[in-house]
């Protein structure tokens, strides 16, 4: 069981103080976490190196303006950070970072990973709105009771993987009723344990996976079935798919925020699928009309073949969609099926290669011989 230390402070303040003291004592040279940007509620991920600048840090604030795994990859792409950095990530963001490291898009070497048992994040459309602080309070109330928080992303509501894998330190939040007064830090790895001396509290021997967490997992799994059923093809699957994606503008926002979509030039942003009007003539002759620009379903289905098997269901895509298409739910559903087919769990094992880049000689032996 991991070493656990209970700290007698409010969880947000306590984690803030812990990180600030690590920074002041120069145990780490930087903290990567959420920071308040203005007085209107905007938060952004920041890499903070001075304890003075740290005053506006809000490590556990329930918003994900960008997938932190993608953000971490942006400055570890060409190599590890020069100095030790502590990064506060949600479990899905951590899985995204692991998936990116597998694809040589990031380096975890000098990073102390701090994660949490995650109650989800609120929809980005609440950021900067009048109801923001009320939503945040309601969020924490739900987290303490291990209930599904209102106004959180759909993917968060049905996420059953809310305990982090591969984190050095975990903050227990879900189902912890006294978060206002005390919280527990779990030091899971030798790297994490080196920092346990900096946590001023008492040692406890509780497992992070409490009964509340197990029940909560079940609740979320039920919600998953419900949401997946809502995208089930009722009539023909094609008609259902067209209905779901018909509002799509082709802005490719979903692909741009997706942590797994890291291609510098996405195939679907390139000219590969542009065609002169002469080649459209056969389509026009048969159909009598064509949506312009075309290639909508090709983009979404094509993107599925490229990344759905590694989809970590963070929900960034749905949150940024300007026309509210449930992209994350559809991709999570396809992803879940693919992951089962290839017996692959994205973000679990940093050594395991992604399914597209590998094969086994003795798998699927019945395919092709029919």
């Amino acid at each position: 069981m991991a070493k656990a230390i209970k700290i007698k402070k409010n969880v947000e303040e306590g984690l803030f103080d812990f990180l600030k003291s690590l920074l002041e004592k120069e145990k780490i040279k930087g903290v990567f976490t959420l920071k308040k940007m203005d007085d209107h509620g905007a938060v952004s991920y920041s890499l903070i190196t001075s304890p003075d600048e740290f005053k506006d840090a809000v490590p556990l604030y329930p918003f994900m303006p960008v997938n932190a795994g993608k953000a971490l990859s942006s400055f570890t792409l060409l190599g590890k950070t020069e100095e030790p950095v502590a990064a506060v990530l949600r479990p899905c963001e951590l899985r995204a970072f692991v998936e990116l490291i597998k694809r040589a898009q990031g380096d975890v070497e000098n990073i102390l990973i701090i994660s949490l048992s995650c109650g989800g994040v609120l929809s980005l459309n609440l950021m900067g709105e009048q109801d923001q602080e009320k939503a945040v309070s309601k969020y924490w109330e739900s987290v303490k009771k291990a209930e599904v928080a209102p106004d959180t992303r759909e993917t968060c509501q049905f996420c059953e993987n809310f305990l982090p894998i591969n984190a050095d330190i975990t903050v227990a939040t879900v189902g912890q009723k006294d978060l206002d007064k005390e919280f527990t830090l779990y030091f899971n790895t030798p790297k994490g344990e080196e920092f346990s001396k900096e946590a001023s509290g008492s040692s406890v021997s509780e497992d992070i996976e409490t009964k509340e967490i197990k029940d909560f997992k079940k609740k979320r799994e039920e919600l998953k079935e419900k949401y997946f059923k809502e995208t089930e093809p009722e009539e023909s699957g094609l008609k259902s798919l067209i209905n779901i994606f018909s509002p799509c503008l082709g802005c490719h926002g979903c692909s741009h925020v997706c942590p797994i979509c890291y291609c510098t030039l996405c195939e679907f942003d390139s000219k590969t699928h542009d065609y002169p009007t002469s080649s459209l003539s056969s389509d026009l002759r048969v159909k009598g009309g064509l949506k312009v620009p075309s290639g909508n379903l090709l983009f979404h289905l094509g993107r599925m073949t490229h990344m759905a098997v590694s989809c970590i269901s963070c929900g960034m895509c749905s949150d940024v969609c300007p026309v509210n298409i449930p992209v994350a739910t559809v991709f999570s559903k396809v992803g879940a099926s693919l992951q089962k087919e290839f017996d692959y769990f994205p973000g679990k094992d940093i050594e395991e290669p992604a399914p597209q880049g590998t094969y086994k000689e003795d798998e699927f032996t019945k395919i092709g011989e029919q």
């Binding site: 089930e232 389509d283 159909k287 009309g289 290639g295 909508n296 379903l297 090709l298 289905l301 092709g368």
Partner: protein
Amino acid sequence: MNNKQTPNIIGFLCNWCSYTGADLAGTSRMKIPPSLKTIRVMCSGRIDPLFVLKSYLKGADGVMMMGCHPGDCHYQKGNYNARRRYVMLNDIFKTLGLDEKRIGLWWVSASEASRFAKVTNDYTEEVKKIGTNPTKKEIFL
């Protein structure tokens, strides 16, 4: 689709095995359905899932991926990748309710001319039964 209509089936055939097998079927004067439009690729591993997707979305009633039997690939490993890609496409089609019978993967070696004839004739019959591809009529795609 009535029995007189020929479905439109696109076949991606690897140069060394299945295309050669198809050629042998031709020179042996075996009966091959006119529905199949063959596209030669050097290896089944060259078949990008987007080829299959685009064919399907453009209205192909069936898409066939063909290559060498596992272990016999001219480039050693290409067909293993093709197999995984087919499994992925099949799974995506199944999950989304798009008829997964419209795509298929067959291993046909250079000497298996009669297998090539049988496989294409059987698949054409199956596609006739499924009917014409609804994407042909969709303006929004």
